[in-house]
């Protein structure tokens, strides 16, 4: 035992008595070494992304053009905006496969609202609210019935998409008010589109949320050990519910951007996006089994995927071939650390 004598015995015990307890040596918070940072997943991804950029600029003279790069971001920022909260959800050992369907449902709701004369702000609110409702529905089913989220969201994926089909059928909604196209087609400054700028801002927000708040710490704690986190007084169910709602809200936001970019709504909007969004998150180093991952990793992975597909697109490689490359990249990038660790473990 150490030499301290003061013992906290009630909750009323003021904090300052504790200050005496340690007396002499107060340990400082050691900082992460540069070597550790260089060995990190994010650095590895950054290297690959840089390599992809270099390769692309050699392969096509059109790659390094600010307007072209800006145009290219339209292909992935909406997905990336959903990937941010989804990363948190996956770190928390849950998953949401219904995001693309939420986008569709939110878009349909906005389309009808626009038809009835809603203005741009109202549309924005409606899109996000529908997303929140869908997220709440998913979250309540998962937390209240303690059902694995992968099963529930496979169901709601069909359900939400199906509802958009029922509501819209073979119709198209395109009576969006003037100025609505600003969200998805406008530019804030020079080549920085509204979508892209929003994504950059949100990436910073999510970086702070996951890495610098209590909320983020709890997210990791739950992901690493839900039982332990629960026994530490964390309201695991509420936390997960919040994350589902957050994912829903951002799917709603993505719906606003996408609808604005396309200028019209069909029930097939954003079909199949859930898999590319999840791929972004996993490629970013988020463990699909929960507990680890970072926003900066996801941020880099978004650009990695974006640049790979854009570079190949410039060479007129069909999208399906790109998906081979993305699929292979996913497996290779996940397998690399495993193989490396195994190699390093071998007796020298």
């Amino acid at each position: 035992m150490d030499n301290s004598r003061t013992i906290p015995n009630t909750a009323q015990d003021p904090d300052n008595t504790l200050n005496n307890s340690t007396g002499s040596a107060v340990s400082k918070l050691p900082s992460t070494s540069i070597k550790q940072r260089l060995m990190s997943w994010e650095f590895f991804l950054l290297l690959i992304t840089a390599a992809v950029c270099v390769a692309n600029s050699f392969a096509s003279p059109y790659f390094l053009d600010p307007w072209n790069l800006s145009d290219a971001t339209f292909n992935f920022v909406e997905k990336a905006i959903v990937a941010l909260p989804l990363a948190l959800l996956i770190i928390c050992r849950e998953i949401d496969l219904s995001v693309a369907s939420i986008i569709a449902l939110a878009s349909v709701a906005m389309g009808y609202a626009a038809q009835w004369g809603a203005d741009n702000t109202t549309l924005l609110i409606i899109g996000i609210s529908v997303g929140i409702c869908c997220g709440l529905f998913n979250g309540l089913l998962v937390t209240h019935f303690a059902i694995p989220s992968i099963v529930i969201t496979i169901g709601t994926m069909s359900l939400f998409r199906g509802l958009s089909y029922i509501l819209l059928g073979d119709q198209v909604l395109k009576d969006y008010p003037a100025g609505f196209d600003y969200f998805g087609q406008g530019y804030v400054y020079w080549v920085f589109s509204v979508e892209f700028t929003l994504f950059l801002a949100l990436a910073v927000v999510f970086y702070l949320l996951l890495h610098h708040t209590n909320f983020g710490r709890r997210t990791y704690a739950i992901g690493k050990n839900p039982t332990g986190a629960f026994y530490s007084g964390i309201n695991v169910k509420r936390h997960r519910l919040l994350l589902f709602i957050l994912v829903g809200a951002f799917a709603g936001l993505a719906a606003v951007l996408l609808t604005s970019r396309l200028g019209s709504t069909r029930p097939t909007i954003a079909l199949g996006w859930e898999l590319s969004i999840i791929t972004m998150v996993v490629l970013g180093g988020v463990n699909i089994m929960g507990g680890s991952g970072s926003i900066h990793g996801v941020f880099i992975a978004v650009f990695l995927m974006g640049f790979v597909t854009f570079g190949l697109g410039l060479l007129n490689v069909p999208g399906i071939v790109m998906s081979i490359i993305v699929g292979a990249m996913l497996i290779a990038v996940i397998a690399c650390p495993v193989l490396l660790a195994r190699y390093l473990q071998r007796p020298r």
């Binding site: 390094l64 198209v172 396309l262 019209s264 697109g313 069909p318 999208g319």
Partner: protein, 331 residues
């Protein structure tokens, strides 16, 4: 973040580089189709290449998404814009969703036409219809009438099997068909279903039609994917002779079904000519040889443009047992 610095510096470098980029001498035309791998569009590409050869200084970039989605086409068009092609000729999966991106293309100085399946007027300069829409609509109903008579005559239930619900040309033709339908008192349209241009979905939808409408005599499928699947389904359900499939299809794909009797007759225009014409129009537009009222389509002749920039190519041609084998060799 290090990454942002890298981004910023590469953007700067890029800005410098673009100034020095020179355009290639050739006229480059991006031929965007609904989806890769569909026989009809493969044939159109053949025609486009033929036009390119004839013109000499044209390069045709044949591209499209893998499945018939608007988002997929947008991505493809985005990379064509980035490559600074001179013209884009698109057969659209969605009339409206492509408009913003095509507007952007026009803003960057790219000539845009749509062909086969059009986009909204704001998104393109010219739309090339394979034929006039009312003509196609009426043709389909005429074919249905022939088929209904073959199925025993009298009053006949008919159904339409379309592609995706968002498919522009399909929707226009269906509207046109409904317009002329009152002239055929014996025909009764009972349902319109969508096979999404997927063979298996079209097949399943056809079986659903056969089940839910026992008196069905004719299925009209104005889509080359749907008509094949429907014919196969009719054959599998043992309804040959009782139910006939008709619509728009390729002779090479339907020759077997004409033989089996599932299809009595069907129509199509020449997809090779369509691809050829689309390329010619694009070229002439780039070269400034198009006027507000007409544009040359090379060996096919001159297209007359209406006020909205719509042009029609030729009349559809009817195929049946007598001539299908001959054309099956070509497309």
């Amino acid at each position: 973040m290090v990454f942002k610095k890298v981004m910023a510096s590469s953007l700067l470098a890029a800005a410098v580089m673009t100034a020095s980029l020179a355009h290639a001498a050739d006229v480059r035309v991006g031929l965007v189709v609904k989806a890769l791998g569909i026989g009809f569009f493969e044939a159109a590409n053949k025609g486009a290449q033929e036009a390119a050869k004839e013109l000499g200084d044209v390069e045709v970039i044949y591209t499209g998404p893998t499945s018939t989605t608007a988002e997929g086409q947008i991505e493809v068009i985005n990379s064509l814009i980035a490559q600074k092609v001179d013209a884009i000729a698109v057969s659209a999966n969605d009339t409206d969703a492509l408009v913003p991106i095509l507007k952007k293309a026009q803003k960057r100085g790219i000539k845009v036409i749509s062909w086969d399946s059009g986009v909204g007027k704001a998104g393109r300069q010219i739309h090339l219809n394979p034929s006039s829409n009312p003509l196609i609509g009426e043709m389909n109903i005429k074919l249905a009438d022939v088929a209904a008579k073959a199925a025993g005559g009298g009053k006949a239930d008919i159904a339409i099997l379309s592609a995706t619900p968002t498919s522009t040309n399909q929707n226009i033709w269906i509207d046109e068909m409904k317009k002329v339908l009152p002239n055929y008192a014996n025909l009764n349209l009972v349902a319109t279903v969508y096979g999404d241009d997927l063979a298996d979905k079209s097949y399943r939808e056809t079986i659903g039609l056969l089940k839910s409408h026992p008196n069905l005599k004719v299925i009209v499928a104005p889509t080359s994917v749907g008509i094949v699947a429907a014919a196969q389904a009719v054959k599998d359900q043992g309804k040959i002779g009782k139910v006939f499939v008709t619509g728009l299809g390729l002779p090479s794909e339907l020759a077997g079904h004409v033989k089996s009797g599932a299809v009595k007759s069907f129509a199509i225009w020449n997809p090779i000519d369509l691809g050829y014409a689309a390329t010619m129009i694009s070229y002439n537009l780039v070269k400034g040889k198009a006027t507000a009222s007409e544009v040359s389509m090379g060996r096919i002749g001159t297209a007359k443009l209406d006020a909205d920039g719509n042009a029609a190519m030729a009349e559809p041609f009817i195929y049946d047992a007598s001539n299908v084998d001959e054309f099956a060799e070509i497309f």
